[in-house]
């Protein structure tokens, strides 16, 4: 169900592979302030239920091969690293940690595709890199973005959540600034009109 086996039609991520790329809206949104753009994307990433997100400059050594970089056309300037915990239990279903990780990767792949779609609809090139598509070293991006570090066996460990996390990346040419740390978690307390009037 998570890994393509005898019946690839039953694998969810398979349907998200063509969703990584798409046409860019020719009507470009005016977004002149890179910092405001970055803060907005951090808020969006939190709303899409990632646990952490960060932006870093895209370097050549993040690509798995020169071909992959050439395919990107040299357009993306920034990479948005997305992180999600894999061990958040939501039910009493007996599942292994590997199954939980696959589920979280699937969810994060969907989030990465949605974020890339959104940026393209704003009028900027963007591409999602997730578990079903291996062109970018997502762990290297996450390390450069300050979300964690690599251990000796080559596993990514988050500074905040430890090793049980999964990663995805969105590369884009949208004007952004390097921004580290967790996305906005602030929730405005919204009072009902009646209570607000009494203040």
């Amino acid at each position: 169900m998570f890994e393509p086996g005898a019946r690839p039609e039953n694998t969810f991520v398979r349907y998200l592979i063509p969703a990584t790329e798409g046409p860019v809206n020719p009507v470009v949104t005016e977004a002149p302030d890179p910092r405001a753009n970055s803060e907005h994307l951090m808020e969006v990433a939190a709303w899409l239920e990632t646990d952490q997100a960060a932006i870093t400059d895209l370097r050549s050594d993040f690509w798995v091969s020169a071909t992959a970089e050439e395919d990107a056309g040299g357009l993306p300037a920034h990479a948005i690293a997305l992180l999600k915990q894999t061990t958040r239990r939501r039910s009493r279903a007996a599942v292994t940690s590997a199954q939980q990780e696959q589920l979280a990767r699937t969810e994060l792949a969907l989030v990465a595709c949605m974020l890339a779609n959104y940026i393209r609809e704003l009028g900027f090139p963007a591409r999602a890199h997730h578990v079903g598509d291996g062109r970018l070293l997502v762990a290297a991006v996450a390390v450069a973005a300050g979300l964690g570090a690599m251990t000796a066996p080559g596993r990514f460990v988050s500074h905040r959540y430890g090793p049980e996390v999964c990663l995805a990346t969105v590369t884009t040419a949208m004007p952004l600034v390097v921004m580290q740390g967790s996305p906005h978690r602030r929730r405005r307390r919204i009072l009902p009109p009646g209570l607000r009037a009494r203040r």
Binding site: M1, A6, R7, E9, N10, T11, F12, Y15, L16, P18, A19, E21, G22, P23, N25, V27, V28, T29, E30, A31, P32, D33, A36, N37, H40, E43, V44, W47, L48, R89, R90, S91, R92, A93, V95, L103, T106, E107, L110, C113, M114, N117, Y118, R120, E121, L122, G123, R187, R188, I190, P192, P193, G194, L195
Partner: protein
């Protein structure tokens, strides 16, 4: 003479005659796209929308930028021929519910799939470009697993605005994920299963959810649950895996809606009736004028492309706090309590509640100074200085 759809202590529907099946092409969306609701509506249903999230979730020009477009074909697939036989419906139902919760569902229930709640023909907005518009639907599964996803109330309460529109789209995408994963899981267990979500559906989700005990039908034509009130969205998985059925629940919604009518007061298009329930396709219920509703959705695309005022204003749309739980229990059993609670709701939240929200680059309510300024290509991230206070 009224009769129950199923045996049980509570009758979820008042059946007044044979229930006629609905053709999906007769839904308001389908009629609007075809032009049966007027040329202006047809044009607005096809025109570009200023909001990038709306364009991402419900594409009109660049379908490849919508995950819905890519998940359209994921609802069904081959069944595993080498699978253990699962004969215990009780254990199966318990397991399937736990798996659905693991996949991200907030509420799950099981009901029998009634043929009268299956569409006769395809007519969804994506059935046009996918080339199966009008094809007859043949669905022979026995059970329906209804799944609900709760919404973020802060964003829902910003209706009508693109904040609420985006929140709704996100929950539908998440439902597509849950239903698609669950259907694939059941198929891998060796039983046929099919996911039904916003853009690829063959059944009516609401009656299935009501029979599965997720909630009760309200005046605003939405399922109102105990935990989320009307602030939730629905998806369904149909299957032949033997499952124990859940029973419909009574939350006192019918009695409360009889006295309340707040959604009807807050409906800008007067699509919700103030009067008593009426017979529709064999069922006595409050009717929603879908064409009027859709008309308001498309009335001002600079600021919204959908509306959820009826969900926002519903007294059941409250945080899951101790005082709300006490109110729910009181409203369920006492007519006096219902009147008192309605009065309290009007005093505290107002008869026409407006909640100030700022999210996703938008501000709600929109200040008068910014009206008419936003268009495609304008900046939703950095609104004009006049918008910010």
């Amino acid at each position: 003479m009224m009769r129950s759809l199923r045996r049980g202590t509570y009758q979820p529907f008042d059946i007044e005659g044979p229930i006629t099946r609905l053709d999906e092409r007769d839904t308001a969306f389908s009629k609007a796209i075809k032009g049966h609701l007027g040329a202006v509506m047809k044009k607005r249903m096809r025109d570009p929308v200023p909001d990038a999230w709306w364009r991402t979730f419900y594409p009109r020009q660049r379908r490849e930028n919508s995950v819905f477009w890519h998940l359209f074909d994921a609802v069904d697939g081959p069944v595993n021929p080498e699978a253990p036989e699962l004969h215990d419906p009780v254990a199966n139902a318990r397991h399937i519910k736990e798996v659905a919760l693991l996949f991200g569902a907030d509420l799950v229930g099981v009901s029998e799939l009634k043929p009268e709640f299956i569409y006769t023909n395809y007519g969804n907005i994506f059935d046009y470009p996918k080339g199966r518009l009008g094809e007859p639907i043949t669905l022979t599964h026995s059970y329906a697993v209804s799944i609900a996803k709760g919404m973020d109330r802060d964003k829902l309460n910003a209706s009508p605005s693109y904040i609420e529109n985006a929140e709704t789209g996100l929950r539908y995408v998440q439902l597509a994920l849950v239903t698609t994963l669950l259907a694939a899981y059941i198929r891998e267990l060796g039983y046929p299963a099919k996911a039904h979500h916003l853009v690829n559906e063959e059944i009516l989700h609401q009656p299935m959810a009501i029979m599965a005990g997720l909630g009760e039908l309200g005046r605003n034509d939405t399922v109102i649950s105990e935990r989320y009130g009307p602030a939730m969205r629905l998806g369904t998985v149909t299957t032949d895996l033997p499952l124990e059925l859940d029973q419909p629940v009574s939350l006192g919604v019918r009695e409360f809606c009889d006295q309340c009518g707040k959604c009807a007061d807050n409906c800008p298009s007067r699509a919700i009736s103030h009067g008593p329930p009426k017979e529709s396709r064999g069922i006595r219920k409050w009717n929603l004028r879908g064409d009027r509703c859709l008309n308001f959705w498309n009335s001002n695309p600079q600021f919204w492309s959908a509306c959820a005022n009826c969900l926002k204003s519903c007294p059941y749309n409250k945080p899951w706090k101790w005082w709300h739980r006490i109110s729910l229990k009181s409203a369920k059993h006492s007519a006096v309590a219902r009147r008192v609670l309605l009065w309290i709701d009007d005093v505290v939240y107002g008869r026409n509640p407006i909640y100030e929200t700022e999210a996703l680059g938008y501000q709600y309510p929109v200040p008068p100074s910014s009206k008419g300024k936003r268009a495609e290509g304008s900046n939703p991230i950095l609104p004009a200085p006049t918008i910010r206070r």
